[in-house]
Symmetry: C2
Subunit: 236 residues, 2 copies
């Protein structure tokens, strides 16, 4: 199970899919002001905490008014759904803040699946959950071996397998397909060599040319944001 | 003064502008493998640390091989330079990770000035420095009263004052000028009302339309990345 803290994310989860909630811990004040229906009040396991208890169980500096304990969902990788849509593939993205941010970017751009290598950050890590702002419940995050996953996509026609690099074809002049996967690599090493054979098109975000460049890359979440925006603008 | 840790950022600073360095603390191993010229070895204040000392002074879990103590630079706001270029204005951006990330995005896109409200995160906070990856020394970050700053730009012709909102004109169909400022607001509250009178064009990043949207915004650094990319693509 995992823990989410705070009014906004817990309210989001109750409204969208309360079935995974094992237990809610809340203050009396939150219980009174919340929009819980009487049916929800009956069906959810609710513990109203006494003064001081929230401070003790919260991982936040200022304790929230509600905390939920939630079952980790188990998704099957649906290859038919992936074949017809745009998804993200993350290769060793290790910073929890980056992963959380990428999940939130995916949600904004209507990307429903993120396929992570087994050595990516854990999406139920509290730092990830805090950066996702509730997107964790709308975007399905899978952990698997990426070579095996990408190999299964090889026969698909009209399907893009895009690898993001620092120096490759300019994304603004590359041809982009509406269905495919966009591979984002590790924060310092980029995409692993063993995934290169599966990549059909290498793409890059051009840096501004007139400047004395010595920065060597964009942060992976910032790059994901720019690339997803461009895909959705042109193919969405 | 402020402290930066790690081979990459310290090497960047030595190569680009060593004048601000007060002192370098380094291991013997780093001293031997570093590319310091004999002139640099004479002009820089260097302390070679004994085994165990780096662990004690570093704020990192795994201590780096070099740490630099650097004077905080003092920049004057150069209105002539701002009048002819694209700059970022940050209104109450409070998360250090977001600020660091935005400084790095600015560097990638050749934006040389970031003007912050006095209540933004401190750009010399160790978390900011870690996310900037050395861009802190190439991008000038100013702290000032934003109303006063924006008021001085009011008479400028052919100069855009763009405010970023969740629901405004689509950036892809807005007219964008090569010189101007892009205002990004606070992580939860957006741009302060007192800055509204100075905004000449409101812009938004469109969310993907076909999805069951309940996410209410992009992270401010992700939004900055997308907006800077679009400006540089169309006006750069």
């Amino acid at each position: 199970m995992f823990v989410v803290e705070g009014d906004k994310i817990v309210t989001d989860i109750i409204q969208q899919d309360p079935s995974g909630i094992e237990q809610l811990y809340l203050t009396e004040k939150w219980y009174k002001k919340s929009d819980l229906s009487s049916r929800q009040k009956h069906s959810l396991q609710i513990s109203i905490l006494k003064s001081g208890e929230m401070e003790r169980i919260s991982s936040f500096k200022s304790p929230p008014e509600v905390i939920a304990l939630i079952h980790i969902p188990h998704f099957q990788l649906d290859y038919d759904e992936i074949a017809g849509n745009l998804s993200l593939v993350l290769d060793k993205v290790q910073d929890p803040g980056n992963l959380g941010n990428i999940i939130r970017i995916a949600d904004w751009f209507g990307i429903h699946h993120i396929i992570c290598s087994s050595d990516c950050a854990d999406c139920y890590n509290p730092k990830v959950l805090q950066s996702t702002m509730g997107s964790i419940i709308r975007v399905k995050t899978h952990y698997t071996d990426l070579s095996t996953f990408l190999q299964k996509l090889t026969p698909l026609p009209e399907f893009g397998v895009y690898g993001t690099f620092v120096n490759a074809s300019n994304i603004y002049t590359s041809s982009l397909l509406p269905a495919g996967v966009i591979i984002m690599g590790n924060e310092s090493k980029g995409i692993s060599k063993e995934l290169f054979p599966y990549i059909r098109e290498k793409i890059s975000i051009p840096a501004f040319q007139n400047h004395n460049r010595s920065i060597d890359s964009l942060n992976v979440a910032a790059a994901t944001a720019i690339i997803c925006a461009e895909f959705r603008k042109r193919t969405g």
